[in-house]
């Protein structure tokens, strides 16, 4: 390893190809990663980024092509081989064990045999020094997506790899957490480590990446220095044409519009020792508006969504009202029948059954509301109608896939998200509640989803969006409320809202006292 001079490539990939059935996910990909650089891998959903990094990490085997590590030809046949070479990976779909603690999860990926107690201490120290606070004793099953991602990152850093692959690392971090991560990445670069950075956030790619390789439809379509590009020019390279900016027309007379979703003094005790109680949450979402809920991961947004969607029922049935009817005691299906639709945060396992086809997933969520269309006499499923509806959604949302009706798990994250959002939009619900609508979704598709949500509201529906992506909330919301520690602030009209005001509320400042608590952690 030490025989190489500075400037030689740590990793070279030549002609790497992966074929799934009729789809060539990666088509003769060339990629060079130098020592001590942060290299961005850009591309839309389904462009082949995930497939490429899976081959680099040994969880997929290429059909053809070569990989050179420090100038030596290598075959990365398993993740174990990749780890031995010095390749670490932070996954987009987490590879954590829910029934184990954070420390145990970290211990599993370290091979040095150190006792779990010492790993817990090490992980705690490392996580705080990198600004990603972590309780090693907590059970992963109780943690939010953002907190899980911290474990993934810490786990990878503890292995001290030469090359770190980060797949969408900042999508669930607050701006401050992301800043800390960038400091970490810059520190790692200064130590001579290389980083392969996959992100849809072009601004941050411009900010920290030295070089970029752009993929489109499985092929390399360009290399560039992101610092010399603009976000728009990068997006154009990825998509192949201009990305349409989201348009949000102002609405008049919203004050007099009828509230379709009413939350009244919603309280909820913590379900597990690690979860957040909801304290007296009240909110009205009126016909024609989009309300955004901002907040740092793990401040009760998940608990709030569960209560609104009916995954958890309320004692007080008037605490959630949909279209003027008490819905707190109704199940998800009951609330759907009142005209509401829900898109949960977790795509696999929550939003969709991973091992079922898209058409089956469609039927699962809409068999009751679209009973007439999808279920015939005697409870027989109208397979052709369901299939046709699934194909319609696939077309409207531009879902890229390798088979006509693939299993949900076979889609890339962003494509599955497009399908799940599309599945609910297709119903034209009068109340739409979405948690993290564009997590891990590329710029083009995210714009598509955001525009669709705005249009839904303008056609007379109430839309509630919970997101950790502030840019997104400012783009689509008519008013923004902030959730902190299980409490919800009053919605702030978008005209009055600034990043700073919202950021302070996210940090726990009382509205009105914001100016006294400027020192954020």
């Amino acid at each position: 390893m030490s025989a190489n001079h500075d400037g030689t490539n740590l990793l070279e990939v030549r002609g790497l190809t992966k074929i799934f059935g009729a789809l060539t996910a990666c088509d003769h990909i060339d990629l060079n990663i130098a020592k001590g650089e942060i290299h961005a891998l850009l591309g839309e959903n389904g462009a082949g980024k995930s497939t490429l990094v899976k081959m680099l990490f040994g969880s997929l085997e290429p059909n053809s092509g070569e990989i050179f590590w420090n100038g030596q030809a290598v075959r990365i046949t398993s993740p174990g081989v990749a780890k031995k070479l010095g390749i670490g990976m932070v996954f987009q779909h987490f590879s954590l064990f829910e029934a184990l603690t954070a420390a145990e999860n970290i211990a599993l990926s370290l091979d040095d045999g150190s006792p779990i107690s010492s790993i817990a201490a090490k992980a705690r120290a490392l996580s705080y020094s990198y600004g990603l606070p972590l309780d090693p004793e907590s059970l992963v099953g109780d943690l939010s997506v953002g907190e899980r991602q911290r474990i993934e990152i810490i786990r990878c850093l503890l292995q001290t790899p030469q090359l770190i692959i980060l797949d969408e690392p900042t999508s669930v971090l607050t701006p401050q957490e992301a800043d800390k991560l960038f400091e970490t990445l810059e520190r790692l670069r200064a130590e001579g480590k290389s980083i392969l950075y996959i992100s849809h956030r072009l601004e941050e790619v411009k900010r920290i990446c030295d070089r970029a390789t752009v993929l489109r439809h499985g092929k390399v379509v360009g290399h560039c220095n992101p610092r010399e590009e603009t976000a728009a020019s990068l997006a154009r390279m990825m998509v192949g044409n201009e990305v349409k900016a989201v348009v949000r027309a102002p609405v008049d007379g919203i004050e007099t519009a009828q509230p379709l979703l009413e939350i009244r003094s919603l309280n909820r005790k913590p379900a597990t020792p690690f979860s957040i109680p909801l304290k007296n949450v009240s909110l009205n979402v009126r016909a024609g508006e989009v309300i955004g809920i901002a907040g740092v991961a793990g401040n009760g947004q998940g608990e709030f969504f569960e209560s609104v969607s009916g995954e958890v029922l309320q004692q007080d049935s008037a605490s959630v009202r949909i279209r003027g009817k008490d819905a707190g005691g109704l199940t998800i299906t009951g609330r759907r029948l009142l005209g509401a639709a829900f898109v949960p945060e977790e795509r696999l396992g929550h939003g969709a059954a991973p091992r079922m086809k898209l058409s089956e997933n469609l039927l699962l969520s809409r068999h009751a509301t679209d009973g007439k269309a999808f279920v015939g006499s005697g409870g027989m499923v109208k397979g052709a109608a369901v299939y046709a509806a699934a194909q319609r959604i696939i077309e409207v949302m531009d879902v890229r896939k390798s088979a006509p009706d693939p299993e949900a798990a076979a889609l890339s994250g962003g494509n599955l998200q497009k399908f799940i959002v599309g599945r609910e939009l297709d119903r034209r619900p009068s109340v739409m509640v979405v948690n993290q609508p564009t997590w891990g979704v590329d710029a083009g598709a995210a714009a598509h989803i955001r525009q669709a949500l705005i249009e839904l509201s303008r056609s007379g529906s109430a839309v509630l969006v919970i997101s950790q992506d502030l840019d997104e909330l400012f783009e689509i919301s008519d008013a923004i409320a902030v959730m902190h520690n299980g409490e919800l602030s009053k919605p702030m009209p978008i005209a009055d809202a600034t990043f700073e005001k919202v950021g302070l509320l996210m940090g726990g400042a009382e509205p009105g006292h914001a100016e006294h608590t400027l020192e954020t952690a």
Partner: protein, 306 residues
């Protein structure tokens, strides 16, 4: 006093095969594999153990043969479900049916033959202490193995790194694979360990409990062991508790029947099952603990995408 000691001894003898088979299956299920073939592996162990003991005259060789027989038989299951990714439930059921039939055929010449019995432990001085001597130092060797095995499995699963790895595979085999853990290899070893335990439990039946060969002599104990693992929410000490509750109520109701208690014998015979279920359900009320201990990938075939 003697009666009490004797009853306690018979309880231990009744509980030992359940405990061993269940502890083996617990390790298998903790790795995420559901092997419903416990009954079949047990009966194969019983016939192998009896045969080897009968032919060589050595109960110890018999016990060894029982273990090997169970392990070999489980290897068949492992190849089918792990290498060929067949359905675990169907494969396990057919393993039980195959074991029951095959053992009957292999054992035709053993029926009615006198078997050999593993001698009880006899430590001069200690074993003759009144009451405790017999209970602590005068039981059959497999009893001590079963207790040691439970302690060893507890230590292995919760105190060692390999145990942690095994549990992680049971929780999510895809995550484990992504970390570079050799999922299939671990599962092979777990299944074979479970088979060896079931074989040992079978050997206990034909070399200690009733030292003879009778067709179907496992009499559903493999199924009870399987149920114990689930009701004990995959915790070794609860399996131990469950096995002994079952053994105690089983022996108790036999005595009750002998005394002629005016309760239908069918009701009495069902008591051990009922009591075990009730007690184990009561001790696993803590949902959080149950969630932590249930292997989430149980029964799902693992095929790494390549």
């Amino acid at each position: 006093m003697d009666i009490t000691v004797n009853i306690l001894l018979t309880i231990a003898t009744a509980a030992t095969p359940l405990l061993i088979a269940a502890i083996g299956e617990l390790v298998v299920e903790r790795s995420g594999v559901l092997n419903l073939g416990v009954e079949g592996m047990m009966i194969m162990g019983a016939v192998g153990g009896f045969g080897a003991g009968y032919l060589t005259g050595s109960p110890w060789l018999g016990l060894l043969a029982a273990i090997i027989m169970g392990a070999l038989f489980s290897l068949l299951f492992a190849v089918m479900t792990l290498s060929l990714a067949t359905n675990q439930v169907a494969t396990g059921l057919s393993l039980t049916l195959l074991g029951l039939g095959l053992s009957g055929m292999m054992g035709t010449s053993f029926v009615g033959q006198p078997g050999v019995r593993l001698p009880n432990l006899d430590i001069p001085g200690l074993s003759s202490i009144p009451v405790v001597g017999k209970l602590l130092f005068g039981q059959d060797p497999v009893f001590y193995i079963s207790i040691a095995l439970t302690a060893a499995v507890m230590w292995f699963l919760f105190k060692t790194r390999t145990g942690l790895t095994l549990r992680s595979i049971g929780d999510s085999h895809t995550s484990a694979h992504a970390l570079g853990i050799k999922v299939i290899r671990y599962r092979y070893l777990a299944v074979i360990f479970g088979g060896a335990c079931a074989g040992l439990a079978g050997g206990h039946l034909s070399l200690v409990y009733t030292p003879q060969w009778v067709e179907n002599m496992s009499a559903g104990r493999g199924w009870i062991a399987l149920a114990l693992v689930v009701f004990a929410s995959w915790r070794p000490w609860r399996v131990l508790a469950g096995a002994y509750i079952f053994g105690a109520v089983w022996i108790g109701q036999l005595h009750a029947q002998a005394f002629g208690i005016p309760v239908p014998s069918q009701v009495l015979s069902s008591l051990p099952y009922l009591a075990t279920v009730v007690v184990l359900v009561l001790i696993s009320r803590n949902k959080r603990l149950t969630m932590m201990n249930t292997p989430a990938s149980l029964g799902q075939p693992f095929v790494p995408d390549r």
